[in-house]
């Protein structure tokens, strides 16, 4: 009897199995339902093994066939793109590619799709990236490209989705795509996202990122689920030629005496509480413990308000707003992206200065329109919190202003990446504005621990 393979909610099921140790090591006997079961990601090795053994099998798992897809017009890849594509093909169509932001990861993916010719699911971190990828794939592959996420549900043989949507949908469509591309794949190791790759049959896999390295060693999970690192190009190899040269300016601004007094009082209240309770933020659950304990007493609630107040003052001081205004004025003929840590600041600035805000609340059509108007120069400024942190292609942006952010190195590098797309004669400029004598100064130090910042020119604004 032929071995049957089925797909069941992100798993690969065989009602019966031949006597083969390799296959039996991949599957586990499911005593609940009387079948053999494995994670769907093992589909490729199972099929290859059955073929190697010359055993008949009936593939009822996959719901995809080779796809007639090719480049609408020829693309001449950059040398680093060509090298990455060949390395990935040489690894059997599985693996990770690390390229700096702006180095053309999307076009590399287009070339890979045209080469493997399989229905493809592209997974991206944000809705903005989803619409951007859809546009690029449609343009270069000349066929309709579907989207899943942000209220849009249109599955096509070529589909772009978000990590959040894919995590929920993989058990239903994990057998529909032969090629899985995870953009910004450093997200994949998150426990809630791993299933996207674990529960997918896709024999071909490509992980793309500018920052593969994770502090928790999650890059090993990427390699296990998508394949090994097959190509890497450093940001400094491409700067000037394929990426714009750049400059980072750090601007430290003082609080006004009145702001400083309010800041110090609120901070003392908050710090006093955590010291008294022995709460430490350098241990796991430290933050959760603070949140829980701060809600139990009036003193705790006052400490929590103190935490919020000192943070708000540091993030939105009047001196910061003055500096921002001067930057906007100085660069009013450029394209400027302003990054903040929270939506509240974005909307406050948007209302005050009548500048467009782009947050997770912005509907998909408006996002497209805003990015289009920014690209055309109709709008010179975009205010955003975190949604433009990653991957979104805004080649016209020359100036970035980090008004506030977390201590994450990755976030900071990705923000820098937004303004590095190459344009003739372009020299990118990243301002980092932080409040002196507040916790923000040390947060700023933390996030700048990356090689991209080692050659910066410090310059006062």
């Amino acid at each position: 009897m032929a071995t049957e393979l089925h797909f069941d909610c992100g798993t690969l099921v065989a009602p019966t199995l031949p006597e083969d140790d390799t296959l039996r090591a991949v599957f586990q006997r499911d005593t609940r339902t009387g079948v053999y079961r494995a994670a769907a990601r093992h589909y490729r090795e199972v099929v290859l093994r059955l073929r190697e053994l010359g055993l008949p099998y009936e593939d009822r798992a996959k719901r995809f066939e080779p796809l007639e897809v090719g480049l609408a017009t020829p693309i001449e890849p950059f040398p680093h793109q060509k090298a990455a594509l060949e390395a990935w093909s040489g690894a059997g169509g599985r693996g990770l590619v690390e390229l700096p932001t702006g180095a053309g990861k999307t076009l590399l993916a287009v070339l890979a799709i045209a080469r493997v010719k399989r229905p493809t699911l592209v997974v991206v971190p944000t809705l903005d990236l989803m619409t951007q990828w859809q546009g690029v794939l449609s343009k270069h592959l000349g066929m309709p490209v579907g989207m899943l996420g942000g209220g849009v549900s249109d599955r096509q043989p070529l589909t772009v989705t978000t990590y959040d949507s894919a995590a929920m949908q993989t058990e239903f469509h994990g057998n529909r795509f032969g090629f899985l591309i995870c953009d910004e794949c450093h997200h994949l190791p998150a426990p809630s996202y791993r299933f996207i790759a674990e529960g997918s049959l896709a024999p071909y896999r490509l992980g793309l990122t500018a920052t593969l390295e994770r502090t928790d060693g999650g890059e090993r999970v990427c390699a296990e689920l998508l394949g090994p690192l097959v190509h890497r190009t450093d940001i400094r190899e491409l700067q000037g030629r394929y990426l714009a040269p750049y400059e980072v300016r750090r601007v430290e601004v003082p609080l006004t005496p009145e702001e400083q007094a309010r800041h110090d009082e609120a901070r003392a209240r908050y710090l006093g509480f955590i010291r008294q309770r022995g709460i430490r933020f350098d241990v796991p659950e430290g933050w959760a413990r603070f949140l829980a304990e701060s809600q139990r007493t009036e003193e705790g609630r006052a400490a929590y308000r103190g935490y919020r107040e000192q943070r708000r003052i540091a993030l939105t001081s009047s001196a910061k707003q003055d500096v921002l205004w001067r930057i906007l004025l100085e660069h009013r003929e450029d394209r400027v992206i302003v990054f903040t840590d929270d939506n509240e600041t974005v909307y406050t600035l948007a209302r005050r200065l009548l500048l467009p805000a782009l947050t997770h609340h912005t509907p998909v059509p408006e996002r497209k329109a805003l990015l289009g108007a920014f690209a055309s120069g109709e709008l010179p400024v975009l205010l955003t919190s975190r949604v433009l942190n990653e991957g979104v292609d805004v080649p016209e942006a020359r100036v970035g202003v980090v008004l506030s952010g977390s201590g994450s190195v990755r976030e900071h590098v990705q923000r820098l990446g937004r303004i590095l797309r190459q344009r003739p004669g372009k020299r990118a400029l990243l301002y980092e504005v932080c409040s002196a004598q507040t916790a923000e100064a040390s947060i700023s130090e933390r996030r700048r621990q990356h090689r991209a910042y080692q050659e910066e020119e410090g310059e006062a604004c």
Binding site: C9, G10, R37, A39, S192, R332, R351, A373
Partner: protein, 394 residues
């Protein structure tokens, strides 16, 4: 459902017990009534406004966490309008005009000068323009309606949500149905399938024990089935007499959720249980055989790669204990019959007979195939005892 910070429970001796509220608690009934009245009268108000009003009421209650939980369940049932047309367009126009003004400023212009130029550029006063700029944000949307319920029902939903919440940390659960009625078991099993869960089912005397988990739970997958397990719990109270345990894994500790029929849990899935077809009841009443006895409460069977069959009845051999289940397919079951035949081909199951209504075998070729199948009994109305005996003891 309730978010993690709204869950109330106690842990003692490694057992987690939700802190259920009493349906008769006058203070909570009063609060629930007030909250519901607030929502019922809230049509047209903004989401931020309603949520703030409800939050203030909740904060003032003597049991604020319970009150916030009730508010959460109510907010989940609210329906808000879509953004008004034209807001995004008006916003885009404002931004384009503001960009023009910004570019026209001299290099030493102040913010105040910019604001003065904006005021000249727009027909509307600047404060009004700022106020209307993001009127379509979710918090500004207007209440359009809500899924109504009574104060008692709200407390029932709250108790169920308290029990469902911890299941988000569970990988599996064990359910013991104590001497259940057939139709109640069927409803639970149907819901199990609907939740895309699998179960190892065994009978212990009159009781049924179900080890329930997700299909991939046995593998080292990161896939969590917490939401599906929580959803499954909602049907469990239908059983009337039951006990449920689930091992919960959180980074800090390992505890077991323990629930049973004495807890104030009410299923929202209604009391309708379906019915036993009269012909099945007739057969059960009249089936008299020296070798075989008939069981109306058969164990479910896993079929094919991922199918679940809940047979209509099971024949058990009195001497050997061998069991043969019978699943009936009526005229409206063409799809399920085709699927089951496929599953039998994929994974033969000698312990399953298919009773097929002749209405499903109109085509001559199809009829010949069915008649030749050793596990199929064709019937008009209901398979006769004689035909069934012939299949049971060939």
């Amino acid at each position: 459902m309730l978010t993690r910070e709204l869950l109330l429970f106690r842990v003692r001796d490694g057992k987690l017990r939700p802190s259920f509220v009493k349906r008769e608690d006058l203070a909570l009934r009063t609060l629930a009534t007030e909250l519901i009245a607030e929502v019922a009268a809230g049509a047209g108000r903004s989401r931020d406004d309603i949520e703030e009003t409800l939050a203030l009421r909740a904060g003032a209650h003597t049991r604020p966490k319970v009150a916030r939980g009730l508010v959460k369940l109510l907010v989940d049932r609210m329906l808000f309008d879509e953004p008004s047309e034209g807001i995004a367009e008006a916003r885009a126009t404002a931004f384009r005009e503001a960009a023009r003004v910004l570019r026209s400023l001299p290099s030493d212009a102040t913010v105040e000068a910019y604001e003065a130029r904006l005021s000249e550029a727009f027909p509307r006063p600047l404060p009004e323009l700022r106020e209307a700029l993001y009127a379509d944000l979710p918090g500004h949307r207007r209440l359009r309606g809500w899924e109504a319920l009574t104060s008692a029902e709200l407390l029932d939903r709250y108790n169920l949500a308290l029990a469902q919440g911890p299941l988000f940390d569970a990988r599996r659960l064990t359910l013991r149905a104590k001497a259940p009625e057939l139709l109640r078991v069927r409803k639970v099993l149907r819901w199990l399938k609907f939740c895309r869960l699998v179960a190892e089912v065994r009978r212990e005397g009159e009781d049924w024990v179900l080890e329930v988990e997700g299909p991939g739970a046995m593998l080292a997958l990161q896939k969590k089935y917490g939401l599906q397990l929580a959803s499954f719990l909602s049907v469990v109270p239908v059983l009337e007499r039951w006990q449920l345990t689930a091992s919960l894994e959180s980074p800090r500790r390992r505890v077991t959720l323990v629930l049973d029929e004495k807890d104030p849990l009410v299923s929202p899935h209604g009391s309708a249980l379906g019915h036993i077809p009269p012909e099945v009841a007739t057969l059960a009443g009249g089936f008299d055989d020296a070798d075989w006895e008939l069981d109306l409460l058969p164990l479910p069977r896993h079929t094919g790669a991922a199918g679940l069959c809940v047979p209509d009845l099971t024949f058990r051999h009195k001497q050997t204990g061998r069991e043969v289940a019978l699943e009936l397919f009526h005229a409206w079951h063409a799809g399920p019959l085709s699927r089951r035949m496929e599953e039998l081909r994929s994974r033969p199951d000698a312990g399953l007979l298919l009773g097929v209504d002749r209405a499903l075998a109109k085509d001559a070729q199809e009829r010949a195939l069915l008649e030749a199948h050793p596990q199929v009994v064709l019937f008009h109305g209901f398979p006769s005892a004689k035909r069934l005996r012939a299949r049971l003891s060939p």
